[in-house]
């Protein structure tokens, strides 16, 4: 397969990518097979990100996660450096800015949560050190006092500074830092707009969206299905335990899950256990005799 054929094939594959794991793996295998064409093929990925609608864009991002996993098992480790370098650029495509022509009610943040989970996975596989902090930040309230004042004044969120180009650092961690900061800002925007809607009782947009961001009913249904698939996949690996440092890591996890025994709070659990045992041994709930010393 020459480079032109490979480009055409990949463009076709990416433009009709489904959220299933098999589809992503198939694509990743293809890219790995033709790793000598990596510069050519990588540009195809970026181009198809521009051409596709929002649903396909997040599917492509999911495929990139799979690709990174595959490439890390490869001795040459192709593609990884270029993907990580452009991580912020890719994210700006997945979470695009709102065009000026659109009304203020429309929002383009549907991909936020999925992008977050995928970025977490990518950071994990790259052994990104600051992941824990960013995860904590993402879960917290990011609104500042100034944001609250702006909401009071009915001012829209200003997302322009997010999309300005900045100089990228050299190291992988620095590049990932940039990507994470962008994502956190987007999260802040989502919180801002949620607050805004609650405050000013806004309506959903009535006019249909234009061009690539238009959502037909079919696309909406496809999106619901895709999210369901993603959710299922996420659940499958949720409990995986890494035992590289021995079983003590798992113990730490277990130890932090449970709180101290509390005689009142844990009474239902204890009662149930005792009842089960008594039922199995005596047949009826069996109460221990009260202590004779305290009997009047």
């Amino acid at each position: 397969m020459d480079s032109f054929e490979a480009r055409v094939y990949l463009t076709k594959q990416l433009s009709s990518l489904t959220p299933s794991k098999q589809a992503a793996q198939q694509c990743a295998k293809f890219l790995l097979k033709h790793k000598e064409l990596q510069d050519d093929l990588y540009s195809v990925i970026l181009e198809s990100l521009d051409a596709a609608d929002l649903n396909i864009r997040i599917n492509i991002f999911q495929f990139l996660e799979e690709l990174i996993l595959y490439c890390q098992n490869d001795p040459q480790k192709p593609y990884i450096s270029s993907i990580i370098k452009d991580m912020k650029l890719i994210l700006t495509k997945i979470l695009p800015p709102k065009p000026d022509t659109m009304s203020c009610e429309t929002r383009l943040l549907t991909n936020l949560h999925a992008a977050y989970t995928i970025l977490v996975n990518i950071s994990k596989s790259c052994k990104f050190t600051n992941l824990k902090e960013y995860k904590a930040k993402y879960g917290s309230n990011l609104l500042t006092d100034m944001d609250r004042n702006r909401i009071e004044l009915q001012l829209q969120f200003d997302e322009k500074p997010l999309y300005t180009d900045k100089d990228l650092p050299e190291s992988i961690d620095g590049q990932l830092d940039c990507a994470w900061e962008f994502l956190l800002e987007k999260r802040r925007q989502s919180q801002y707009e949620r607050f805004f809607i609650d405050k000013h009782q806004m309506q959903s947009p009535t006019e249909p969206l234009q061009d690539t961001f238009a959502k037909t009913r079919k696309q909406l249904l496809a999106r619901i299905e895709a999210d369901r698939e993603r959710q299922k996949r996420g659940k499958e690996n949720l409990w995986q335990i890494n035992r590289e440092n021995g079983s003590i890591t798992e113990f730490d996890l277990v130890y932090d899950t449970f709180h101290q025994f509390d005689i009142i709070e844990d009474k239902p659990l204890i009662d149930e256990i005792n009842e089960l045992y008594d039922n199995s041994k005596y047949g009826t709930p069996h109460r221990p005799q009260p202590n004779k010393r305290f009997r009047r």
């Binding site: 335990i241 035992r243 025994f261 005792n274």
Partner: protein, 422 residues
């Protein structure tokens, strides 16, 4: 438990009471049934250890949490209590994987069985075609049904892990000792203790044992804690706890090398050579424990032979009749008592019919109860411990009429005047 349909083509109904915990004598009786002789018992022990080792590895490969393993050991041991080892002994790996699968489901961890099977094949170094794997999968699913049946579809089993950590925090036990006890908890599941005692009791037993081991190993960093069971709502006598600790320590005498405790001691950077641990630590603790092996004189030993619950399971009952599972012993006893009176009536009826016309078939609408497994208790309400499983048919409730007081009227405003009140 042999329940074949009667010659008259009668319908067989079985009531089975769910019993998640069994007493020690019941367990030994059950194992006597399933492991007929000593050679089988030895083979069972060897295979059990082999399978448990294999499951530990499988869990690590699949990256499951250890609590899956805990439930899995519980189900594995229960399987061979109710099923003949001579028949299922060669399928010990299948039983192990099925119990793992059930434990997975119970803890709400979704993983495809085919994936588990293919990993198991890889681990054992067996090459199998996809077709063979698919057949294996079907075999395991049919085995799973058997698990459900002898377990009476009862999933009210509580893992000890949660309570162990909660108690450890309550008694302010240091974190590293808690790690030791959590590791020892995984060993506890390989013994018979979780089959006998409820989770809160076992949590105390593990905590106690691990404290003893810790103090014996670290003379200079002793952790002195008074574990009061009553404080944490465990109703057990002192000798019961002591005996359980003793039984638990016995496990280490022959399987310390492969235990989780060894692994934990290694991670805590303590002495781990087996000679020292077994000879000095474990035996010392055993000697220091005040052992009380006196049999409990209050209860006379029950005759378990006549109870269907303690027979090997026959899964063909479901094909010709029905098996009903009950969780409450009270309901179960109600049904059994009804059956006893019905049986008497039936015998009288039969005798009367025989007197009138010996050749006539007995009873018009009445179907004969099966001959086997009839509770041998003649009184209408049997002794609570007498029987756990009996043949029975669904019968209308009779207690309703007996308890119904027709003079009682809930809307009555005045009490009826009684002559002697005035």
């Amino acid at each position: 438990m042999s329940l074949s349909p009667d010659a008259s083509g009668d319908f067989v109904g079985v009531i089975q009471l769910s019993k998640p915990y069994l007493s020690k004598e019941e367990i030994s009786h059950l194992f006597k049934n399933s492991l007929k002789d000593d050679s089988l018992a030895r083979a069972y022990k060897v295979k059990k250890r082999e399978v448990f080792q294999f499951l530990c590895k499988l869990i690590k490969v699949l990256q499951f949490p250890t609590k899956i393993l805990q439930g899995c050991f519980y189900y594995y041991q229960r399987f061979y209590m109710f099923n003949s080892f001579a028949k299922y002994g060669s399928a010990h790996y299948d039983v192990g994987i099925t119990s793992l699968f059930i434990s997975l489901k119970q803890n709400d961890y979704i993983k495809k069985l085919s994936l588990v099977i293919s990993e198991a094949y890889k681990l054992r170094g067996i090459v199998a075609t996809p077709q063979e794997q698919d057949e294996h999968r079907k075999r395991l699913l049919s085995l799973e049904k058997k698990f459900m049946e002898f377990g009476a579809f009862d999933f009210r089993y509580f893992l000890i892990e949660e309570l162990l950590i909660k108690y450890a925090k309550y008694f302010r036990i240091p974190r590293e000792v808690c790690f030791l006890s959590w590791s020892m908890l995984n060993d506890l599941y390989a013994t018979e203790l979780p089959l006998q005692w409820p989770s809160n009791f076992n949590a105390i037993v593990v905590l106690r044992t691990s404290l003893l081991v810790w103090n014996e190993l670290n003379m200079e960093r002793k952790v002195e804690r008074l574990l009061n069971e009553r404080e944490v709502a465990v109703h057990a006598r002192k000798d019961e706890v002591n005996n359980a600790v003793n039984e638990f320590l016995e496990y280490y005498l022959d399987s310390y090398e492969t235990s989780f405790m060894r692994d934990a001691l290694e991670q805590l950077k303590l002495r781990t050579d087996s000679k020292h641990i077994i000879n000095d630590v474990i035996l010392n603790i055993k000697i220091s424990l005040h052992q009380d092996d006196r049999p409990n004189g209050l209860q006379p030993p029950r005759n378990l032979d006549e109870d269907l619950f303690f027979k090997l399971r026959d899964y063909d009952v479901g094909k010709t009749g029905s098996v009903r599972f009950l969780y409450s012993k009270k309901k179960y006893l109600d049904e059994v008592s009804q059956y006893a009176s019905e049986k008497e009536r039936y015998i009288q009826q039969k005798a009367a019919a025989l007197r009138q016309a010996p050749t006539q078939p007995t009873g018009k609408n009445y179907r004969a109860p099966p001959a086997h497994g009839v509770p041998n208790n003649p009184s209408p309400r049997p002794h609570p411990n007498s029987s756990y499983q009996s043949n029975n048919r669904a019968a209308p409730r009779k207690t309703f009429k007996k308890n119904y007081q027709h003079t009682y009227n809930p809307n009555r405003k005045h009490r009826p005047e009684r002559p002697f009140d005035k």
